[in-house]
C-alpha cells in the first residue's frame, strides 16, 4: 500500500530533474536495416517519391509497403535485390500482410500541430534576405545559417533542414538533439521577415504612451500584407502550432 505511493512521489521528483535535462532520441534499432543513403544518393530517389503526402498533408506519410514492393517485387518475381536478407524481411511482412513496425525517430509532441505541407510549400522569400548567407557547411553543417540555406534551396534540401542529412544516413537518426523542442522551432520562425519585429510588436511602452503612428510604422515593418495582397500568416502566435 505504502509502496504504491512512494512511486508517484519519487516520480515527481525525478520528473522535476529530468525535465531540466534534455535527452533526445538519437537512434534506435529498426525492424529492417533500411538505408536512406543507398536509396537517395546511389539510386537517386527523391524524398517525396516515398514520403508522398508531405506536400499535401500535415504528415509526410511513411511509405506504404506496396511502395517498397513496387520496386523490389515479391520473392518469386526476383526483381531488385532478390537475395538481400534485409529486403527479404520486408517481403516477409508483405506476404504476411503485415505492416512494418518502424520505430518513430522524429517524434513531435502530441500537443503540436505541425503541417508538413505548409513547410514544403512555404515561400522562401519570406525568410530574411540575409538568412542562410553565413553558412559554413564544412565546420558547422547543422548551424542555424546552414539550415536556413537548405530551407531556402527548396526541394529535397528543404527536408534536410530539419531532418539532418538523411541522404548520408545508413541508419536514420535524429541529428539535432533538441529536435522539435520549442526553441528549436522558434529559431527558424524568427528568421521570417518581420518576425522579430512582431515578437516585440507592442513596443515596450505600448500602453503608456501608446503612439498610433509608431504602431503604423511597426505594422509596415512586420510585413502584414504580402506582395500578392493577402495577409501573411503570423508565425509567432501560440495558436500557430498549439491547438
Amino acid at each position: 500500500m505504502v509502496l504504491r505511493y512512494i512511486f508517484p512521489i519519487s516520480l515527481i521528483l525525478s520528473v522535476f530533474f529530468l525535465a531540466l535535462s534534455s535527452s533526445a532520441v538519437l537512434a534506435e534499432e529498426q525492424p529492417i536495416a533500411f538505408s536512406h543513403k543507398l536509396h537517395t544518393v546511389q539510386n537517386g530517389i527523391a524524398c517525396q517519391y516515398c514520403h508522398l503526402y508531405a506536400r499535401r498533408s500535415f504528415s509526410s506519410g511513411v511509405p506504404p509497403v506496396s511502395t517498397c514492393i513496387g520496386c523490389h517485387g515479391p520473392q518469386e518475381q526476383k526483381l531488385v535485390q532478390p537475395e538481400s536478407v534485409e529486403v527479404n524481411k520486408m517481403r516477409t511482412f508483405w506476404s504476411n500482410n503485415e505492416p512494418i513496425p518502424w520505430v518513430k525517430i522524429h517524434d513531435i509532441p502530441d500537443f503540436v500541430r505541425f503541417p508538413h505541407k505548409e513547410h514544403i510549400n512555404a515561400d522562401s522569400n519570406r525568410l530574411l534576405d540575409d538568412a542562410g548567407a553565413g553558412c559554413d557547411s564544412e565546420n558547422a553543417p547543422r548551424s542555424l545559417e546552414c539550415k536556413l540555406a537548405q530551407f531556402r534551396t527548396g526541394g529535397d534540401e528543404r527536408c534536410l533542414a530539419c531532418h539532418g542529412d538523411v541522404r548520408q544516413m545508413e541508419v536514420i537518426v535524429q541529428v539535432d538533439e533538441n529536435f522539435a523542442t520549442m526553441g528549436w522551432c522558434m529559431e527558424c520562425h524568427l528568421q521570417v521577415k518581420g518576425a522579430k519585429e512582431r515578437k516585440r510588436s507592442g513596443n515596450t511602452m505600448a500602453g503608456w504612451y501608446h503612439a498610433k503612428e509608431l504602431n503604423k510604422k511597426r505594422e509596415a515593418d512586420i510585413g502584414l500584407v504580402n506582395e500578392k495582397g493577402y495577409h501573411n500568416p503570423n508565425l509567432l502566435d501560440c495558436y500557430t502550432c498549439h491547438y
Partner: protein, 990 residues
C-alpha cells in the same frame, strides 16, 4: 443506484498515466510508425485531411441528410447535408450523436446463440435452418422504413416462404393519419408550412423535439416566429404541459388533460360564427361554443374568444395537434377537432399542405396486440427483430416479453438492447454509417445512405440486408437471383427512380451524382384538400381527467433520448435535458402547488403508482404542468442496453395500460397515478446552479412594444471611457481578422444540438453522473436555462454560453505562465501544454466557461476512433475551453492561402453554428464591416443596436460574442419583482 460507469473507475491509474507520459517524453520514445500495406488507390487519400460523404441519418424516421467527415477512413464528425431540403445542413442533437451509434462500445461484437459467441457460418446456418423449419410462420418486427428496405423485407419474406412484416414505432402518427382521413380524405401526414403562418396554435405537440422532423420544424417555425421588421408572429401553446416546444411559446394556455380537441372546436366555433364559412358545421360547432366547453377545458370563455380573435386577426393560422400529451383514447377525435380548426380558419391548403405520397405507415397497436396473441398461440415460429426495441418500449402490461419466450427470436441488431437480450440468435448488423440504404421521408425527397467507412474493426458485423439476402439464397435458390448483394438490389431500385425523375444519363454517372448530392431532391407537389362533411358526426366528450381522483400521467418524449434509443450514447446522457437540466436520469415533472399540497419537495424520491405498475423517480418542480397531472419523460430505465444506459432512471412505460384509441394507436394518456413520498432527497444530478437569473440579464429579453418605441428601450450598457488604448492599436492585432460571434436568443430554442456538436468536434470527454454532480462536466458550450416569473405565467429562456473570447479577458491576466493570452486574431488562446493548472483563470472567468481536466479521461474503445485528429486531446491537469473551433479557422486559412487570398465571410463555420437548425449562431470576422456577424453585432454603431447586448457588459470584459435579446410579445408578470437587486441593475443600465 449505480454510480457512474464502472469502467471509468475513479481509482484507476489515471494520474500516473499523465505523469509517466511526461517521463516518456524526456526519455526514450517507443512510438511506432505503422505504414499502410497498400494505400487506397480507388480514390484520393491524404492523411489528416477531411473527406466528406453524403449519407442519411437513421436515428429517427425523419431521415435528415447527413454529411460525414472522415479522416484516415474514420468517421469523425456528422454534419447535416446542406443540399438536403429537409434539414438543409443542420442536425439535431441525436443526429450529432449518431456517431456514437457507430462507435458504441456496447455494440454486438459477434454472433450470439443463446448468449454464447458463435462463428458467422454457424449463425447463418442456424438462421437458414430455422427459416426452413418455420415454413412461413415468420414475423419480421422492424422499424418503419420509408425507403427500399421495407419492400426488400417484404420480398424477402415471400422468398423465405411467407410471413408478415410489422413496423414498430412507439411514437406512431397513426391517429393523425386516421384523423386526416376522416377530415380531409387524405390518409397521410401533411407538410406544415410554418413560415406562411401568422399565428401558430400548438395543441400539445412537441414539434421541436420528436414530432415530425424537429430539425425542419425548428427551421420553418423560427422563420415564422422570429422578430423581423419590427414585428413578431405569435405562437400559442395550448396544452396541459410545457415541453421544450412550449417553452418557446409567447403564451401558455393551461387546459385540462385531454381537452385539446374541445379547445380547438371552441376556437373554431367562434371563428365560424364570425366568418361564416363551412355552414354545415354551424350547428355542430355551436355545441362546442366557448361557454359550453369552458368548464371542461379549464379555459375561460373570454380566453377562448381572445384566441379566436388572435387567429383571425393575425392569421393565417396553423393549428398543430398530436404528440404524446394529447394521446388519450379520444386522440383521433381530438385531431379531427384540430383539423376542423385549421379548415374553419382557412389554414387548410395555406399552412397545412397535403401531398399525394403516403407516409411510411407503422403498424398499429392493434397489429402488435395481434402479433402478441399469435405468438402466445404458437402461430409464429420465427420472429426476426431489427434495431427496434419493443421489449423496452411497449408497456409490460401487454405481455410482449412473455410472448417472445414462445417462439424463436432472431435479432439483427447492431446495438445491445432489452429485445436482443431475449433473442435466441443474434446476428450483429452494421450501422447506417457502414451500410447501404435509402430513405424517402416525404414527397420529392429521396435520400441515399452510403457506407462512409469500412466497418469498425472491433465488431464482427454484417449488413442486415446482406444477412437476409444470403440467408434467403441459402433457403431458396431462386430468391434474389439478380442480386448478389443489397447494393445490387438498391441500384435496381434507383434505376427505376432515375427513370421516374427523367434523368437521361448513364446509370453510373447518375449514381455518382446521387452519392455526391446525398440523394435526389425535387420540389414537393401538393394537392388540394377540403373538409369532409363527415366530421360533423365526430363527437368529442369531456374526458374529465382534471376532476377525477389521482394525477393524470403524461409519458412525454425525451428530446435527447427519443423513445429510448439514445440512452446508450454517452453524449446524450451527459448533455443535460434543456428543460430540467438533469443528466443521466429520469424525473417526474410536478406542479409545485400540487407537490406542496402533497408534501413533496423538489428532488424528493416519489413512488408513482398506477394500476399497471409502479416506479420510483425524482420529483422535479415544473411550473409548466397542469396541477392535476404529472409528466415523466421516456427513454431511461434500461436493463440490458449496455453500461451507458443500464441502471439510470426509470421506464415510464411500466405505468401504462394496454389500451388503444380508435385508430388503434397506443393510448399514452389516461392512467391515473398516485404518489407516495419515499425519500426527501434523491441523487439527481442537474447542471444548473440556479434556475433564476435574479435580474442579472444574462439571458435577456425585450418586447416588441419596447423595440418599436426607441425611447422606451435602453440601448444597453454604455462603454466607459477607456484608460488603456484598444487592443486593435497594438501592432499586428486584428489585422485582418477579429473573430466574433452573435447568438440570436430569439432564434435559439434550446435544442442542445450545438452542445453535442461541440462534444463531437472537440474531443470532449464524458465524465459520468457522479462527476457531473460536482460540476466536472466538460462541455465547452452549455445551454443555460433560466426561468422567469411564477406559476402558470412563467417564461423559460435559453442562452448558449461559451467562451466569450473577451478583449479584456479576466482569465488572461491572472495566468502566471501566459498559458492563455489574447491572440492577434482576437481569440482567447488557450495553450494546453503551457498550462500548469492553477485554475485561477476559471475562478476569474465571469462566464464560467473554462473546464479543467481533473483526470486523464478515457475514451473507451472504439469511441477513441471518433476523436478529432486535427486537435490536441487534453491530459490531466490542464484547463480547456471553447476555441471558436480554431482548427477549422486554421484549415480554412491554409486553404485560402493556397488560393492566394484572405478568408471570405462564411468560410469558417464553427461546429455549433454549423448544426444549429434555426441559424441562431453567426460567426465571422468582426473587422469586416460587410460580414454577417459584423452586421448582426453592430458593434461600431451603438445607435442602431436594439436587441444586441454583451453578457455582463458592466464588467468591461469586452466579449467577442454578442447576444441578441429574445423578443417577447408581452411582459411576463413577476419578472421584475422576483428578485432583489434587479432594480439597481436597471439603473446601472440606463
Amino acid at each position: 443506484m449505480k454510480k457512474g460507469l464502472s469502467r471509468r473507475n475513479l481509482f484507476k491509474y489515471m494520474g500516473v498515466g499523465g505523469a509517466t507520459a511526461v517521463v516518456a517524453g524526456c526519455e526514450k520514445s517507443s512510438e511506432k510508425l505503422i505504414p499502410m500495406l497498400i494505400p487506397p488507390t480507388d480514390y484520393e487519400y491524404t492523411p489528416h485531411t477531411a473527406y466528406k460523404y453524403m449519407t442519411t441519418c437513421r436515428e429517427c424516421d425523419s431521415a435528415c441528410g447527413m454529411m460525414v467527415t472522415t479522416r484516415e477512413h474514420r468517421a469523425q464528425k456528422a454534419e447535416g447535408n446542406p443540399n438536403h431540403p429537409v434539414n438543409q445542413g443542420a442536425l439535431c442533437a441525436r443526429g450529432q450523436a449518431s456517431l456514437q451509434t457507430l462507435y458504441n462500445p456496447n455494440r454486438h461484437a459477434h454472433p450470439l446463440a443463446d448468449g454464447k459467441q458463435i462463428p458467422w457460418e454457424e449463425g447463418m446456418q442456424q438462421f437458414s435452418a430455422i427459416i426452413k423449419a418455420a415454413s412461413g410462420a415468420i414475423a419480421y418486427l422492424g422499424k418503419p422504413a420509408s425507403g427500399s428496405e421495407g419492400d426488400f423485407v417484404d420480398e424477402w419474406l415471400q422468398a423465405a416462404g411467407g410471413g408478415q412484416r410489422f413496423k414498430f414505432n412507439l411514437l406512431t402518427q397513426k391517429s393523425q393519419i386516421e384523423a386526416n382521413k376522416i377530415a380531409f380524405d387524405h390518409a397521410n401526414v401533411p407538410e406544415y408550412a410554418f413560415e406562411k403562418a401568422g399565428v401558430v396554435f400548438n395543441f400539445s405537440t412537441d414539434f421541436l423535439e420528436n414530432w415530425g422532423n424537429p430539425v425542419e420544424n425548428a427551421r420553418r417555425f423560427t422563420d415564422m416566429h422570429v422578430y423581423k421588421n419590427g414585428r413578431k408572429n405569435k405562437f400559442i401553446h395550448i396544452s396541459p404541459q410545457v415541453s421544450l416546444t412550449g417553452a418557446k411559446a409567447d403564451r401558455w394556455i393551461v387546459i385540462n388533460p385531454g381537452t385539446e380537441g374541445l379547445v380547438a372546436l371552441a376556437i373554431a366555433s367562434v371563428i365560424q360564427k364570425e366568418n361564416g364559412t363551412y355552414k354545415f358545421l354551424k350547428k355542430y360547432l355551436q355545441a362546442y361554443s366557448p361557454e359550453k366547453v369552458a368548464e371542461a377545458t379549464g379555459v375561460s370563455a373570454e380566453t377562448l374568444s381572445e384566441l379566436a380573435i388572435d387567429a383571425m386577426e393575425h392569421g393565417p393560422l396553423l393549428a398543430l395537434g398530436g404528440g404524446n400529451v394529447s394521446a388519450t383514447d379520444q386522440s383521433v377525435e381530438t385531431l379531427v377537432g384540430v383539423n376542423i380548426l385549421n379548415a374553419v380558419s382557412g389554414a387548410l391548403n395555406k399552412t397545412v399542405l397535403f401531398s399525394d405520397q403516403t407516409t411510411p405507415e407503422s403498424s398499429t397497436h392493434q397489429d402488435l396486440t395481434q402479433l402478441i396473441s399469435d405468438l402466445n398461440a404458437g402461430k409464429i415460429k420465427l420472429l426476426i427483430v431489427d434495431d427496434s426495441n419493443p421489449v423496452y418500449a411497449l408497456p409490460p402490461s401487454m405481455g410482449f416479453l412473455q410472448a417472445l419466450k414462445k417462439t424463436f427470436v432472431v435479432s439483427l441488431a447492431s446495438q445491445k438492447s432489452e429485445t436482443t437480450h431475449t433473442a435466441n440468435l443474434v446476428l450483429p448488423a452494421l450501422t447506417a454509417y457502414e451500410s447501404w440504404g435509402d430513405a424517402f421521408p416525404r414527397n420529392g425527397v429521396r435520400s441515399i445512405q452510403q457506407p462512409v467507412m469500412s466497418t469498425v474493426n472491433m465488431f464482427d458485423a454484417r449488413a442486415r440486408e446482406d444477412i437476409l439476402l444470403s440467408v434467403a439464397q441459402n433457403v431458396n435458390k431462386k430468391a434474389f437471383s439478380e442480386n448478389s448483394s443489397y447494393l445490387d438490389y438498391l441500384q435496381n431500385i434507383w434505376q427505376k427512380i432515375q427513370r421516374k425523375v427523367g434523368d437521361k444519363r448513364k446509370f453510373d454517372s447518375f449514381w455518382i451524382s446521387v452519392l455526391e448530392n446525398g440523394g435526389i431532391f425535387e420540389k414537393p407537389k401538393f394537392v388540394r384538400a377540403s373538409l369532409n362533411r363527415r366530421v360533423a358526426s365526430v363527437k368529442l366528450n369531456d374526458p374529465g381527467m382534471a376532476s377525477s381522483d389521482g394525477l393524470t400521467l403524461f409519458p412525454t418524449t425525451s428530446l435527447l433520448l427519443g423513445d429510448g434509443s439514445g440512452a446508450n450514447k454517452p453524449w446524450l446522457q451527459e448533455v443535460p435535458d434543456p428543460m430540467s437540466q438533469i443528466v443521466w436520469d429520469s424525473w417526474m415533472e410536478i406542479n409545485p402547488d400540487t407537490a406542496q399540497k402533497l408534501g413533496i419537495n423538489d428532488r424528493a424520491i416519489v413512488e408513482i403508482s398506477t394500476p399497471y405498475g409502479s416506479v420510483q423517480a425524482t420529483a422535479y418542480y415544473h411550473f409548466g404542468i397542469h396541477r392535476n397531472a404529472i409528466a415523466i419523460p421516456m427513454g431511461q430505465g434500461h436493463q440490458h442496453s449496455g453500461d451507458v444506459a443500464d441502471g439510470f432512471g426509470i421506464n415510464v412505460m411500466k405505468l401504462l395500460p394496454d389500451q388503444m384509441d380508435k385508430a388503434g394507436s397506443l393510448v399514452f394518456v389516461g392512467a391515473k397515478a398516485k404518489l407516495k413520498l419515499i425519500n426527501e432527497k434523491s441523487y439527481t444530478v442537474n447542471t444548473d446552479g440556479n434556475a433564476r437569473q435574479l435580474g442579472r440579464d444574462i439571458s435577456a429579453a425585450t418586447t416588441v412594444e419596447e423595440l418599436n418605441n426607441p425611447e422606451k428601450h435602453s440601448s444597453g450598457h454604455n462603454r466607459p471611457v477607456e484608460f488603456y488604448p484598444d487592443r486593435s492599436e497594438t501592432a499586428g492585432y486584428y489585422k485582418p481578422y477579429r473573430w466574433g460571434m452573435t447568438i440570436d436568443l430569439d432564434r435559439c430554442n434550446g435544442c442542445s444540438a450545438c452542445v453535442v456538436a461541440c462534444y463531437a468536434e472537440n474531443n470532449l470527454p464524458v465524465v459520468g453522473k457522479v462527476r457531473t454532480a460536482i460540476g466536472r462536466e466538460m462541455s465547452w458550450i452549455r445551454m443555460e436555462r433560466y426561468i422567469e416569473g411564477y406559476g402558470d405565467d412563467f417564461e423559460t429562456r435559453f442562452s448558449p454560453m461559451l467562451c466569450q473570447h473577451c478583449g479584456n479577458a479576466g482569465c488572461e491576466t491572472v495566468c502566471p505562465v501566459y498559458a492563455t493570452y489574447h491572440n492577434p486574431e482576437g481569440l482567447n488562446a488557450m495553450v494546453y501544454n503551457r498550462c500548469v493548472g492553477t485554475r485561477y483563470c476559471s475562478n476569474n472567468c465571469a462566464y464560467k466557461v473554462r473546464r479543467f481536466n481533473w483526470f486523464n479521461y478515457e475514451f473507451p474503445a472504439p469511441l477513441d476512433q471518433q476523436l478529432n485528429t486535427t486537435i490536441t486531446t487534453r491530459e490531466v491537469g490542464v484547463m480547456e475551453k471553447c476555441t471558436f473551433c480554431v482548427q477549422r479557422i486554421k484549415d480554412a486559412k491554409y486553404d485560402a492561402k493556397n488560393l492566394g487570398r484572405d478568408l471570405e465571410d462564411g468560410e469558417v463555420v464553427t461546429a455549433c453554428q454549423q448544426t444549429c437548425p434555426t441559424k441562431a449562431i453567426t460567426f465571422g470576422n468582426l473587422m469586416d464591416p460587410e460580414s454577417k456577424v459584423a452586421k448582426n453585432a453592430l458593434r461600431d454603431n451603438p445607435a442602431k443596436r436594439d436587441r444586441q447586448y454583451e453578457v455582463l457588459a458592466e464588467l468591461n470584459y469586452k466579449p467577442a460574442v454578442t447576444y441578441l435579446k429574445k423578443v417577447n410579445t408581452r411582459e411576463v408578470d413577476g419578472h421584475d419583482s422576483d428578485n432583489h437587486g434587479s432594480h439597481e441593475q436597471e439603473q446601472a443600465h440606463s
